[in-house]
Subunit: 331 residues, 2 copies
DNA sequence: ACGCTTTCGGAAATCGTTTTCCTTATCGTA
DNA sequence: TACGATAAGGAAAACGATTTCCGAAAGCGT
């Protein structure tokens, strides 16, 4: 393995000079820079990241905490999109990303989690897929031992940003479109909401309530808890007596759609997320496309900014209305 | 951050002694071990992994190379299962896993890839989702600079193991069952194969050829290239004149199934992989369940063994025949 | 020609461990 | 009693970078 010392010898300079060239320090002459870079190229030198992070004792790694549904064989397209976005952005920015599943930490105290992350050289964390009332998350963020970026959990402080789409607006947009496009009457709308107390669920519900006032329709709300099966059950029970079914997630929309088909009822259904699976629901459906890959990429970007000294803030990502259908999504 | 020095001071011993206790070296008295462990607990000490890996200059990290379809929004359940299995096992074994997407390396030479991995402290790699004729893969493995574990690519040498299910047998099993269970005649079977030159595709195809001889049916083979759309096209063209359709992947089976439905033809179809999406195909289908999570976990396990000095070998994982249907897979 | 500031580059300490000697103390045996 | 063998634990040199501090050389105005 070629070290900085080899490069220094080859270029006829001191190791410190090589380091300065590599890290773009000022006060190095053009000529020296050229010589050093030449030696680097000839020797195929790449700085050892382990030595770097030890030496510059700034904890530069980023932990990527996520909460996938690993027990079930459930399709985790969203998590995969998050991972892909984060990993690719981290590669681009040359920071190390340490993926951590929350299940690996769940029996640990906040202090233990922090010690663990510190021991791994972690300075910033990105948290996906956690609910805002998770105790570990709350304390982790409150103690500000790290720079944090939360996805879909609205907390901001000096060292914490959050990132999300405008949930309320997006829910209104997709529901409005679905209701307006409906051929028949739209006096009675069934809303299958997400989890109680979840931030995104609350926001989406608020959006629906506002929309009901604006468009003046009857809204009946049932909590589907983001479960396809629950959504199916709710639809079997209440689907027929309503005109339109709005769901707080695509998975629930698929459950609802299937239930309607089984009942030979053909009300419009819309979802939320824009996952590919929507193409397999059997009928075109409106949904909100969240670009999870870009959201994760932006989250990594943001945590790097925080590490560089920026203040915490809210980042709102754009959303997009789409209609997903089988022939459009297959490859 | 509490260091080994703090612990040493607290326990009244030298830092080397603490290190020896932590790493279970011999020749330390029971009493000293107790005192040191006490100090560790009191101070909540966790060794800094960065310093460890620098000092013990053995490259202990494991790179997890995978090749997800990040361009498309395609469902990447399999990749996610791989990641989950690998990450959880790595956590369990206390080794660091470095996920790397192949797309991040594709413009690099083998030497550059190696230098990069070395600079990251990587000693072993697990490779998923690559084809056996990939040039970088071949040279990486041939040069034996790392310990390698290949998933679904059959190469073994002193520092390389591979892991896979028995592709040929599995293909025979699922096809035989589907053909035997068929109510109507099964004289003509359509096989939609995978990619030409791919190891798993070849094996599965061999299995089908053998089965055709054993059961004495006509087999017509078309390459679907693991594409749902191609499988659909092939089925639209040749589906009706055959009695049974066997596909080399679930995704293609879904494409075939949908095509048949559109044609109002009801031949049995079977797939391969056991992904959840099969539940959304519209009809129960036979498939081979590969436990991707366990395969990845075992791969990590194997690379750790190789790093500890074991010889390369072939690891065959069990497979399982399943029937997937909507009501069974939803949560 | 003299002091003064810049500019450039080198020496050495440091980061938190691991690991290799080395020094004692203790024991068994001749 | 003396001698080697063994056990227990400490001192210090790595590991490969970063970063601080310092000195030499060069530029500048008077």
């Amino acid at each position: 393995m070629t070290t900085i010392r080899d490069v220094a010898k080859r270029a006829g300079v001191a190791v410190s000079t090589v380091s300065k060239v590599v890290n773009h320090y000022p006060n190095i002459s053009e000529d020296t820079i050229r010589r050093v870079n030449e030696a680097i190229r000839e020797l195929n030198f790449v700085p050892n990241t382990i030595a770097s992070s030890l030496s510059s004792k700034q904890a530069g790694r980023i932990a990527f905490l996520l909460n996938p549904n690993t027990q079930t064989q459930a399709i985790d397209e969203i998590t995969m999109q998050y991972m892909a976005g984060a990993l690719l952005k981290a590669g681009e920015l040359h920071v190390e990303l340490l993926p951590v599943f929350f299940s690996m930490l769940e029996d640990k105290s906040v202090e233990e989690v922090e010690t663990y992350l510190h021991s791994q050289g972690v300075g910033g964390i990105v948290i996906c897929g956690m609910s805002k009332d998770d105790y570990v998350l709350q304390r982790l963020v409150a103690r500000e031992h790290f720079k944090n970026v939360l996805v879909d959990v609205p907390i901001v402080n000096a060292s914490t940003s959050y990132i999300s789409v405008d949930q309320k607006q997006a829910q209104k947009d997709v529901a409005r479109k679905t209701i307006m496009d409906n051929q028949g009457p739209s006096r009675d709308v069934l809303y299958i909401s997400g989890k109680q107390n979840g931030y995104i669920s609350e926001e989406r519900l608020q959006g629906m309530l506002e929309l009901a006032r604006e468009l003046d329709f009857n809204l009946s709300v049932h909590s589907g808890e983001f479960s396809e099966r629950r959504a199916r059950e709710i639809t079997l029970k209440y689907g027929e007596v309503n005109d339109v079914i709005v769901c707080a997630s695509d998975l629930m929309a698929i459950g609802a759609m299937r239930a309607l088909t089984d009942m030979d009822v053909f009300h419009p259904v819309c979802g939320f997320d824009g996952i590919t699976l929507m193409g397999y629901a059997g009928k075109q459906m409106n949904t909100v496309r969240q670009n999870f890959k870009e959201i994760a990429a932006e989250a990594v970007n943001e945590v790097v900014k925080l590490l560089a000294g920026a203040e915490g803030r809210a980042v709102i990502m754009p959303h997009e209305l789409v209609r997903l259908e089988y022939m459009d999504i297959i490859v």
